[in-house]
Symmetry: C2
Subunit: 218 residues, 2 copies
Protein backbone atom coordinates (compact mmCIF):
# COMPACT_ATOMS: atom_id res chain seq x y z
CA UNK A 1 0.00 0.00 0.00
CA UNK A 2 0.82 3.66 -0.34
CA UNK A 3 3.25 5.05 2.27
CA UNK A 4 1.22 8.25 2.64
CA UNK A 5 -1.98 6.31 3.37
CA UNK A 6 -0.07 4.14 5.83
CA UNK A 7 1.39 7.17 7.64
CA UNK A 8 -2.10 8.71 7.83
CA UNK A 9 -3.35 5.51 9.47
CA UNK A 10 -0.40 5.18 11.85
CA UNK A 11 -0.53 8.86 12.80
CA UNK A 12 -3.30 8.00 15.26
CA UNK A 13 -2.36 6.80 18.74
CA UNK A 14 -5.50 4.69 19.23
CA UNK A 15 -5.00 2.88 15.92
CA UNK A 16 -1.42 2.14 16.96
CA UNK A 17 -2.70 0.77 20.28
CA UNK A 18 -5.23 -1.44 18.46
CA UNK A 19 -2.47 -2.83 16.23
CA UNK A 20 -0.22 -3.47 19.23
CA UNK A 21 -3.06 -5.37 20.90
CA UNK A 22 -3.96 -7.38 17.79
CA UNK A 23 -0.29 -8.33 17.33
CA UNK A 24 -0.54 -10.20 20.65
CA UNK A 25 -3.85 -11.93 19.94
CA UNK A 26 -7.01 -11.70 17.84
CA UNK A 27 -9.66 -9.59 19.63
CA UNK A 28 -13.33 -8.68 19.34
CA UNK A 29 -14.67 -5.13 19.49
CA UNK A 30 -15.77 -5.10 23.16
CA UNK A 31 -12.35 -6.38 24.27
CA UNK A 32 -10.54 -3.68 22.33
CA UNK A 33 -12.94 -1.03 23.54
CA UNK A 34 -12.43 -2.00 27.20
CA UNK A 35 -8.67 -2.30 26.88
CA UNK A 36 -8.34 1.10 25.20
CA UNK A 37 -11.03 2.88 27.20
CA UNK A 38 -12.52 4.09 23.93
CA UNK A 39 -16.16 3.74 22.80
CA UNK A 40 -17.06 0.66 20.69
CA UNK A 41 -18.23 3.07 17.98
CA UNK A 42 -14.77 4.66 17.76
CA UNK A 43 -13.10 1.22 17.78
CA UNK A 44 -15.34 0.04 14.93
CA UNK A 45 -14.43 3.14 12.98
CA UNK A 46 -10.68 2.56 13.46
CA UNK A 47 -11.04 -1.13 12.55
CA UNK A 48 -12.97 -0.26 9.40
CA UNK A 49 -10.13 2.03 8.25
CA UNK A 50 -7.53 -0.65 9.03
CA UNK A 51 -9.64 -3.26 7.22
CA UNK A 52 -10.07 -1.05 4.15
CA UNK A 53 -6.29 -0.69 4.00
CA UNK A 54 -5.97 -4.47 4.11
CA UNK A 55 -3.98 -4.44 7.37
CA UNK A 56 -6.65 -6.06 9.49
CA UNK A 57 -9.14 -8.85 8.80
CA UNK A 58 -11.92 -10.45 10.81
CA UNK A 59 -13.27 -13.94 11.21
CA UNK A 60 -16.32 -15.18 13.07
CA UNK A 61 -16.05 -18.02 15.60
CA UNK A 62 -18.57 -20.72 16.60
CA UNK A 63 -20.32 -18.35 18.98
CA UNK A 64 -20.75 -15.90 16.11
CA UNK A 65 -18.25 -13.58 17.73
CA UNK A 66 -16.23 -11.52 15.25
CA UNK A 67 -12.49 -11.57 15.94
CA UNK A 68 -10.08 -9.11 14.34
CA UNK A 69 -6.47 -9.92 13.54
CA UNK A 70 -3.55 -8.44 11.59
CA UNK A 71 -3.73 -9.95 8.13
CA UNK A 72 -0.38 -9.30 6.59
CA UNK A 73 3.26 -8.38 6.87
CA UNK A 74 4.23 -4.94 5.90
CA UNK A 75 7.04 -2.62 6.55
CA UNK A 76 7.37 1.13 6.46
CA UNK A 77 10.63 3.01 6.37
CA UNK A 78 11.03 6.74 6.63
CA UNK A 79 14.35 8.48 6.08
CA UNK A 80 14.71 12.10 7.07
CA UNK A 81 17.93 13.94 6.37
CA UNK A 82 18.96 17.41 5.21
CA UNK A 83 18.89 15.92 1.69
CA UNK A 84 16.01 13.54 1.80
CA UNK A 85 12.55 12.97 2.98
CA UNK A 86 11.84 9.48 1.76
CA UNK A 87 9.11 7.06 2.65
CA UNK A 88 8.97 3.51 1.48
CA UNK A 89 6.46 0.81 2.27
CA UNK A 90 6.91 -2.76 1.26
CA UNK A 91 5.64 -6.25 1.71
CA UNK A 92 8.25 -8.81 2.73
CA UNK A 93 10.21 -10.40 -0.05
CA UNK A 94 9.08 -13.85 -0.97
CA UNK A 95 10.80 -16.88 0.47
CA UNK A 96 12.35 -17.80 -2.89
CA UNK A 97 14.10 -14.47 -2.99
CA UNK A 98 17.67 -15.09 -4.17
CA UNK A 99 20.02 -13.52 -1.68
CA UNK A 100 23.07 -14.89 -3.48
CA UNK A 101 22.69 -12.22 -6.16
CA UNK A 102 23.30 -9.37 -3.73
CA UNK A 103 26.53 -7.67 -4.60
CA UNK A 104 27.45 -5.78 -1.47
CA UNK A 105 26.00 -7.88 1.21
CA UNK A 106 26.58 -11.34 2.57
CA UNK A 107 24.21 -12.96 4.99
CA UNK A 108 25.64 -15.82 6.93
CA UNK A 109 22.47 -17.49 8.11
CA UNK A 110 21.45 -21.12 8.18
CA UNK A 111 18.70 -21.40 5.60
CA UNK A 112 18.31 -25.12 6.02
CA UNK A 113 14.77 -25.82 7.16
CA UNK A 114 14.55 -29.58 6.93
CA UNK A 115 13.36 -31.37 10.10
CA UNK A 116 13.12 -28.38 12.33
CA UNK A 117 12.32 -29.02 15.94
CA UNK A 118 11.27 -26.43 18.49
CA UNK A 119 14.84 -25.96 19.63
CA UNK A 120 16.07 -25.24 16.10
CA UNK A 121 13.17 -22.89 15.39
CA UNK A 122 13.76 -20.98 18.61
CA UNK A 123 17.48 -20.60 17.81
CA UNK A 124 16.69 -19.54 14.28
CA UNK A 125 14.26 -16.94 15.59
CA UNK A 126 16.92 -15.56 17.88
CA UNK A 127 19.43 -15.37 15.02
CA UNK A 128 16.90 -13.67 12.77
CA UNK A 129 16.18 -11.07 15.43
CA UNK A 130 19.89 -10.35 15.83
CA UNK A 131 20.26 -10.13 12.07
CA UNK A 132 17.35 -7.70 11.92
CA UNK A 133 19.12 -5.48 14.44
CA UNK A 134 22.35 -5.60 12.48
CA UNK A 135 20.61 -4.75 9.22
CA UNK A 136 18.98 -1.83 10.91
CA UNK A 137 22.36 -0.62 12.18
CA UNK A 138 23.80 -1.12 8.71
CA UNK A 139 21.01 1.00 7.24
CA UNK A 140 21.64 3.73 9.75
CA UNK A 141 25.32 3.64 8.90
CA UNK A 142 24.58 3.86 5.17
CA UNK A 143 22.17 6.74 5.69
CA UNK A 144 24.78 8.65 7.70
CA UNK A 145 27.45 8.00 5.07
CA UNK A 146 25.13 9.14 2.24
CA UNK A 147 24.65 12.43 4.07
CA UNK A 148 28.42 12.84 4.45
CA UNK A 149 29.04 12.14 0.76
CA UNK A 150 26.30 14.60 -0.23
CA UNK A 151 27.85 17.16 2.12
CA UNK A 152 31.22 16.74 0.40
CA UNK A 153 29.70 16.81 -3.09
CA UNK A 154 27.67 19.95 -2.48
CA UNK A 155 30.60 21.67 -0.75
CA UNK A 156 32.43 21.46 -4.07
CA UNK A 157 29.50 22.92 -5.95
CA UNK A 158 28.84 26.09 -4.00
CA UNK A 159 25.18 26.15 -5.03
CA UNK A 160 22.62 28.28 -3.20
CA UNK A 161 19.17 26.77 -3.66
CA UNK A 162 18.67 23.24 -4.80
CA UNK A 163 21.95 21.58 -3.91
CA UNK A 164 20.38 18.12 -4.01
CA UNK A 165 19.74 18.58 -7.75
CA UNK A 166 23.46 19.27 -8.28
CA UNK A 167 24.26 16.03 -6.50
CA UNK A 168 21.63 14.13 -8.52
CA UNK A 169 23.16 15.39 -11.77
CA UNK A 170 26.64 14.28 -10.66
CA UNK A 171 25.16 10.96 -9.59
CA UNK A 172 23.54 10.49 -13.01
CA UNK A 173 27.01 10.84 -14.57
CA UNK A 174 28.66 8.39 -12.15
CA UNK A 175 28.35 5.45 -14.55
CA UNK A 176 29.53 7.22 -17.70
CA UNK A 177 28.81 10.08 -20.13
CA UNK A 178 25.16 10.88 -20.83
CA UNK A 179 22.87 13.09 -22.90
CA UNK A 180 21.11 15.98 -21.18
CA UNK A 181 17.71 14.31 -21.59
CA UNK A 182 18.93 11.11 -19.93
CA UNK A 183 20.50 13.07 -17.05
CA UNK A 184 17.21 14.95 -16.66
CA UNK A 185 15.28 11.68 -16.56
CA UNK A 186 17.64 10.23 -13.92
CA UNK A 187 17.55 13.36 -11.78
CA UNK A 188 13.77 13.75 -12.23
CA UNK A 189 14.09 17.41 -13.24
CA UNK A 190 13.25 19.45 -16.38
CA UNK A 191 16.05 19.39 -19.03
CA UNK A 192 16.33 23.24 -19.01
CA UNK A 193 17.03 23.20 -15.29
CA UNK A 194 19.57 20.41 -15.75
CA UNK A 195 21.31 22.43 -18.54
CA UNK A 196 21.72 25.29 -16.08
CA UNK A 197 23.10 23.00 -13.41
CA UNK A 198 25.56 21.46 -15.92
CA UNK A 199 26.72 24.96 -16.92
CA UNK A 200 27.35 25.85 -13.24
CA UNK A 201 29.14 22.56 -12.62
CA UNK A 202 31.36 22.98 -15.67
CA UNK A 203 32.49 26.41 -14.42
CA UNK A 204 33.81 24.58 -11.35
CA UNK A 205 35.42 21.94 -13.58
CA UNK A 206 33.24 19.22 -12.09
CA UNK A 207 31.73 18.20 -15.44
CA UNK A 208 32.92 18.46 -19.03
CA UNK A 209 31.20 18.46 -22.40
CA UNK A 210 31.86 15.42 -24.58
CA UNK A 211 30.77 14.67 -28.16
CA UNK A 212 27.09 14.25 -27.57
CA UNK A 213 26.58 14.89 -23.88
CA UNK A 214 28.39 15.42 -20.58
CA UNK A 215 30.84 13.52 -18.42
CA UNK A 216 32.37 13.98 -14.97
CA UNK A 217 35.51 16.16 -14.90
CA UNK A 218 38.85 14.70 -13.92
CA UNK B 1 13.05 10.95 19.41
CA UNK B 2 10.05 8.86 20.33
CA UNK B 3 8.55 6.82 17.46
CA UNK B 4 5.01 7.66 18.57
CA UNK B 5 5.69 11.40 18.49
CA UNK B 6 7.35 11.00 15.10
CA UNK B 7 4.38 9.08 13.69
CA UNK B 8 2.02 11.76 15.02
CA UNK B 9 4.08 14.39 13.19
CA UNK B 10 4.34 12.40 9.96
CA UNK B 11 0.66 11.48 10.02
CA UNK B 12 -0.11 14.87 8.49
CA UNK B 13 0.08 15.27 4.71
CA UNK B 14 1.03 18.97 4.80
CA UNK B 15 3.88 18.34 7.22
CA UNK B 16 5.13 15.59 4.90
CA UNK B 17 4.95 18.02 1.96
CA UNK B 18 6.89 20.64 3.95
CA UNK B 19 9.62 18.09 4.75
CA UNK B 20 9.77 16.96 1.13
CA UNK B 21 10.22 20.60 0.07
CA UNK B 22 12.86 21.36 2.73
CA UNK B 23 14.80 18.24 1.70
CA UNK B 24 15.32 19.91 -1.68
CA UNK B 25 16.26 23.34 -0.36
CA UNK B 26 15.96 25.62 2.67
CA UNK B 27 12.79 27.74 2.39
CA UNK B 28 11.11 30.70 4.09
CA UNK B 29 7.50 30.72 5.25
CA UNK B 30 5.97 32.58 2.27
CA UNK B 31 7.65 30.19 -0.19
CA UNK B 32 6.30 27.15 1.63
CA UNK B 33 2.86 28.71 1.97
CA UNK B 34 2.68 29.47 -1.79
CA UNK B 35 3.99 26.07 -2.79
CA UNK B 36 1.56 24.19 -0.58
CA UNK B 37 -1.42 26.48 -1.09
CA UNK B 38 -1.79 26.68 2.69
CA UNK B 39 -2.03 29.82 4.84
CA UNK B 40 1.22 31.20 6.32
CA UNK B 41 -0.37 30.80 9.75
CA UNK B 42 -0.86 27.04 9.22
CA UNK B 43 2.70 26.72 7.81
CA UNK B 44 4.14 28.48 10.87
CA UNK B 45 2.19 26.11 13.10
CA UNK B 46 3.52 23.01 11.29
CA UNK B 47 7.08 24.39 11.34
CA UNK B 48 6.83 25.09 15.06
CA UNK B 49 5.87 21.45 15.73
CA UNK B 50 8.71 20.20 13.52
CA UNK B 51 11.14 22.58 15.26
CA UNK B 52 10.05 21.47 18.72
CA UNK B 53 10.73 17.88 17.69
CA UNK B 54 14.22 18.91 16.57
CA UNK B 55 13.62 17.87 12.96
CA UNK B 56 13.71 21.37 11.50
CA UNK B 57 15.84 24.40 12.29
CA UNK B 58 15.90 27.95 11.00
CA UNK B 59 18.58 30.48 10.23
CA UNK B 60 18.31 34.11 9.26
CA UNK B 61 20.12 35.45 6.17
CA UNK B 62 21.62 38.91 5.44
CA UNK B 63 18.21 40.27 4.41
CA UNK B 64 16.81 39.10 7.73
CA UNK B 65 14.83 36.41 6.01
CA UNK B 66 14.30 33.30 8.10
CA UNK B 67 15.08 30.08 6.24
CA UNK B 68 13.99 26.69 7.49
CA UNK B 69 15.92 23.49 6.83
CA UNK B 70 15.98 19.88 8.01
CA UNK B 71 18.46 19.74 10.86
CA UNK B 72 19.23 16.09 11.30
CA UNK B 73 19.24 12.55 10.06
CA UNK B 74 16.69 10.23 11.42
CA UNK B 75 15.10 7.04 10.46
CA UNK B 76 11.80 5.45 11.33
CA UNK B 77 10.94 1.83 10.78
CA UNK B 78 7.57 0.25 11.32
CA UNK B 79 7.01 -3.51 11.14
CA UNK B 80 3.49 -4.84 10.98
CA UNK B 81 2.88 -8.57 11.00
CA UNK B 82 0.41 -10.99 12.56
CA UNK B 83 2.91 -11.26 15.41
CA UNK B 84 4.26 -7.80 15.72
CA UNK B 85 3.52 -4.15 15.64
CA UNK B 86 6.89 -2.59 16.14
CA UNK B 87 8.12 0.93 15.65
CA UNK B 88 11.71 1.98 15.90
CA UNK B 89 13.25 5.37 15.37
CA UNK B 90 16.93 5.96 15.31
CA UNK B 91 19.63 8.42 14.49
CA UNK B 92 22.28 7.22 12.07
CA UNK B 93 25.16 5.34 13.58
CA UNK B 94 28.31 7.34 13.96
CA UNK B 95 31.03 7.18 11.38
CA UNK B 96 33.39 5.31 13.67
CA UNK B 97 30.86 2.51 13.98
CA UNK B 98 32.74 -0.77 13.75
CA UNK B 99 31.08 -2.88 11.08
CA UNK B 100 33.73 -5.59 11.37
CA UNK B 101 32.09 -6.81 14.59
CA UNK B 102 28.86 -7.78 12.89
CA UNK B 103 28.43 -11.49 13.03
CA UNK B 104 25.90 -12.22 10.33
CA UNK B 105 26.54 -9.56 7.84
CA UNK B 106 29.39 -8.57 5.60
CA UNK B 107 29.44 -5.29 3.79
CA UNK B 108 31.75 -5.13 0.85
CA UNK B 109 32.04 -1.40 0.38
CA UNK B 110 35.05 0.80 -0.19
CA UNK B 111 35.42 2.77 2.99
CA UNK B 112 38.56 4.52 1.89
CA UNK B 113 37.91 8.23 1.85
CA UNK B 114 41.34 9.65 1.27
CA UNK B 115 41.65 12.09 -1.65
CA UNK B 116 38.14 11.84 -2.91
CA UNK B 117 37.34 13.65 -6.12
CA UNK B 118 33.89 14.33 -7.48
CA UNK B 119 34.02 11.19 -9.58
CA UNK B 120 34.84 8.99 -6.59
CA UNK B 121 32.18 10.64 -4.45
CA UNK B 122 29.55 10.20 -7.14
CA UNK B 123 30.43 6.50 -7.53
CA UNK B 124 30.41 6.01 -3.79
CA UNK B 125 27.00 7.64 -3.60
CA UNK B 126 25.68 5.29 -6.23
CA UNK B 127 27.08 2.27 -4.37
CA UNK B 128 25.61 3.46 -1.11
CA UNK B 129 22.21 3.85 -2.70
CA UNK B 130 22.38 0.31 -4.09
CA UNK B 131 23.52 -0.97 -0.71
CA UNK B 132 20.61 0.82 0.95
CA UNK B 133 18.22 -0.99 -1.39
CA UNK B 134 19.80 -4.34 -0.67
CA UNK B 135 19.66 -3.82 3.08
CA UNK B 136 16.03 -2.94 2.76
CA UNK B 137 15.38 -6.12 0.77
CA UNK B 138 17.34 -8.10 3.34
CA UNK B 139 15.17 -6.72 6.11
CA UNK B 140 12.02 -7.59 4.23
CA UNK B 141 13.34 -11.11 3.78
CA UNK B 142 14.19 -11.39 7.48
CA UNK B 143 10.77 -10.08 8.47
CA UNK B 144 9.05 -12.64 6.22
CA UNK B 145 11.20 -15.46 7.60
CA UNK B 146 10.51 -14.41 11.21
CA UNK B 147 6.79 -14.68 10.48
CA UNK B 148 7.29 -18.16 9.01
CA UNK B 149 9.29 -19.34 12.01
CA UNK B 150 6.66 -17.95 14.39
CA UNK B 151 3.97 -19.70 12.34
CA UNK B 152 5.80 -23.00 12.71
CA UNK B 153 6.48 -22.48 16.42
CA UNK B 154 2.90 -21.57 17.25
CA UNK B 155 1.51 -24.44 15.13
CA UNK B 156 3.32 -26.79 17.52
CA UNK B 157 1.83 -25.08 20.53
CA UNK B 158 -1.86 -25.12 19.71
CA UNK B 159 -2.52 -22.09 21.90
CA UNK B 160 -5.67 -20.03 21.63
CA UNK B 161 -5.18 -16.44 22.60
CA UNK B 162 -1.73 -15.06 23.06
CA UNK B 163 0.40 -17.28 20.81
CA UNK B 164 3.13 -14.67 20.60
CA UNK B 165 3.76 -15.11 24.34
CA UNK B 166 4.31 -18.87 23.79
CA UNK B 167 6.87 -18.04 21.12
CA UNK B 168 8.55 -15.44 23.36
CA UNK B 169 8.88 -18.02 26.14
CA UNK B 170 10.46 -20.54 23.74
CA UNK B 171 12.71 -17.78 22.44
CA UNK B 172 13.83 -16.94 25.99
CA UNK B 173 14.96 -20.58 26.38
CA UNK B 174 16.82 -20.66 23.05
CA UNK B 175 20.18 -19.89 24.66
CA UNK B 176 19.90 -22.35 27.56
CA UNK B 177 17.94 -23.23 30.72
CA UNK B 178 16.47 -20.35 32.71
CA UNK B 179 14.54 -19.51 35.87
CA UNK B 180 10.88 -18.52 35.55
CA UNK B 181 11.61 -14.94 36.61
CA UNK B 182 14.31 -14.55 33.97
CA UNK B 183 12.01 -16.00 31.30
CA UNK B 184 9.29 -13.58 32.41
CA UNK B 185 11.71 -10.66 32.18
CA UNK B 186 12.79 -11.70 28.65
CA UNK B 187 9.22 -12.21 27.47
CA UNK B 188 8.01 -9.03 29.18
CA UNK B 189 5.12 -10.82 30.89
CA UNK B 190 4.07 -11.49 34.51
CA UNK B 191 5.74 -14.61 36.05
CA UNK B 192 2.32 -16.21 36.84
CA UNK B 193 1.31 -15.99 33.17
CA UNK B 194 4.68 -17.44 32.14
CA UNK B 195 4.22 -20.34 34.61
CA UNK B 196 0.91 -21.18 32.91
CA UNK B 197 2.52 -21.02 29.47
CA UNK B 198 5.37 -23.29 30.63
CA UNK B 199 2.84 -25.81 31.98
CA UNK B 200 1.00 -25.85 28.61
CA UNK B 201 4.25 -26.18 26.70
CA UNK B 202 5.47 -29.03 28.89
CA UNK B 203 2.25 -30.96 28.17
CA UNK B 204 3.26 -30.82 24.51
CA UNK B 205 6.80 -31.88 25.40
CA UNK B 206 8.19 -28.58 24.11
CA UNK B 207 9.80 -27.63 27.42
CA UNK B 208 11.08 -29.60 30.40
CA UNK B 209 11.72 -28.83 34.02
CA UNK B 210 15.37 -28.89 35.08
CA UNK B 211 16.93 -28.42 38.54
CA UNK B 212 16.10 -24.83 39.12
CA UNK B 213 14.20 -23.77 36.01
CA UNK B 214 13.13 -24.79 32.54
CA UNK B 215 14.81 -25.87 29.31
CA UNK B 216 13.66 -26.62 25.76
CA UNK B 217 12.46 -30.21 25.18
CA UNK B 218 14.40 -32.53 22.89
Amino acid sequence: MDSAALLDLLGNENRRRILRLLARKPCYVTEISEYLGVSPKAVIDHLRKLEEAGIVESRTDDQRRKYFHISRNLRLEVNVSPYEFGTKSAYPASRGFDITTWRYLTLDVQLDDAEEGTRELASELRELEQLENELSMAQRWVQGRITEVLDELTDDVDADGDSRLYADVLLALADGPKLVDDIAADAEAPPEMVEQVLADLSENGLVERVDDGWTLGD
